[in-house]
Each structure stands twice: as structure tokens, then as C-alpha cells.
Symmetry: C2
Subunit: 133 residues, 2 copies
């Protein structure tokens, strides 16, 4: 049976930055936390261990690549990198820039109230990442 | 300069399960969430992207290996896998078994109040993991 990758509808409001070899890279439209998602373009994958070994290494390569870009562009004190998926059952890695001055430091930011990012700032952020990725 | 890996003191109350090729595997003493830490035994590593490429792949191998064991032993609905490190500045991956009936589902469990696991249950859990890892 041929199965095609389709992005889960929960990501429909996120902005596409680019497609890497394995992952779709999306931007999260929240202020205060430069935040991207890496979503392996493979059908029916919910957990890291559902990926083939080769895809797991590709995922690691792309986490490394995107982490370095986010670090360079936004100078976070720490990156929070996670596969959670309690709400959206399609494997997605969060890469979130955290600063000691951000509203929730040192707590985690998932499921906390956030403000939407101003549209101009969001486009600026996306273009900046696009240039470097 | 020779630099030796030393476990960060914040892990002093965690129980050692085993040393894999790259990572020390520790158990977290909380009830309701079978929860382990994978800590690469390399000095001065704070983020995944601080690891060499070879160590990144080893880390991925050990995440895959431990995820499958935790899945098999505790039958979680979802594994939460994360490198956060806002509080403890030594790279450590969380692998947490989440069940739809657990106290915080579908929210994340970091920095939430948890109960300590009964000592007999904890030893049982550790021995079970030790047998399979």
C-alpha cells in the first residue's frame, strides 16, 4: 500500500519555512520565543523510534543544523528540544529559543498562554531563518 | 587539557540503571511516570549540538534503544522525549512514559508537583529496566 505524508491539520496555522531532506520546518507564531517545528515527511510516524535508523540519523542531522541556526540568529541562553506529541499525534520536534529574561524561564513553555507575534516581526523572523537554513 | 566527565550534582538523588556506550541511564524517583534520563558521558556538553556528529548518532541510537524498552515495559500511550536543561546545565535527555490516565495528561509534566515513588516499586522498576537494557 502506498501511503503519502500529509501534514496534520493542527499545523495548518504554522508558517512553512522550508523542506529539508527529511523534515518540513515550520515556524510557530508566538512572541517571546523563536520556535520552530521539524516534522519528518514520512507517513504514520508518531514517535522517534517509529522512524527507520537512517531517518533517525537524518533527523539528528537536521536538529543539529537547525539548532545551530537558531542559536546564531537568536542567541538563546538555552534551546529546548523535544518530541512530546500528547496532543498532535504526528512526530514533530520542537526547537525553542529560551532566554533568561523570557516570560516563563526557567519553566517550560508548552501549554502556557503566549501572545501572537506581530505579523511584521513574524515575517522578519521567517525570512531570517530562510536565509540561513 | 584533560577534562573528565562528572555527573552534575542535581542528579545525585537519581538512581543509576546502567552506563551505555555514550550515556549514563538514570531513573527518576517519581510515581505515575516511568521516567529515565540519558546523560552523555562527555565533559562540558550542554546542548545536543555541542556533541560531535558521531556522539549525536550514538545518542540517537540510545534514545531509540531506551524508547523501545520503555514502550515494551510500561506500555505508554506516548513517550515524551526532550532536552530542556533550563535548570541543570548538563545535557540530559528525558524519556518519560505518558498514559492518558496519568495526572497531567495531555499537559507536560516538567516542574509539576509529583509524588515520590514507593521504594519497592522504584527498585522493581529499576530492576525491570536493567534486565532489558
Amino acid at each position: 500500500m502506498f501511503m503519502k505524508f500529509e501534514l496534520h491539520p493542527n499545523f495548518s496555522e504554522k508558517e512553512l519555512i522550508t523542506d529539508l531532506n527529511l523534515c518540513k520546518v515550520l515556524a510557530n507564531n508566538v512572541a517571546d520565543f523563536p520556535w520552530i517545528f521539524l516534522i519528518p515527511m514520512r507517513p504514520n510516524i508518531r514517535q522517534i523510534h517509529d522512524l527507520s535508523k537512517q531517518d533517525q540519523y537524518l533527523l539528528m542531522d537536521e536538529i543539529d543544523h537547525c539548532s545551530k541556526i537558531m542559536k546564531q540568529l537568536f542567541n538563546p541562553d538555552q534551546l529546548n528540544i523535544a518530541a512530546i506529541g500528547n496532543i498532535t499525534p504526528q512526530l514533530h520536534m520542537h526547537i525553542i529559543c529560551r532566554h533568561k529574561q523570557d516570560p516563563y524561564w526557567p519553566d517550560v513553555v508548552w501549554n502556557k498562554p503566549t501572545n501572537p507575534i506581530l505579523i511584521n516581526d513574524f515575517h522578519h523572523q521567517i525570512n531570517l531563518i530562510k536565509k540561513h537554513i
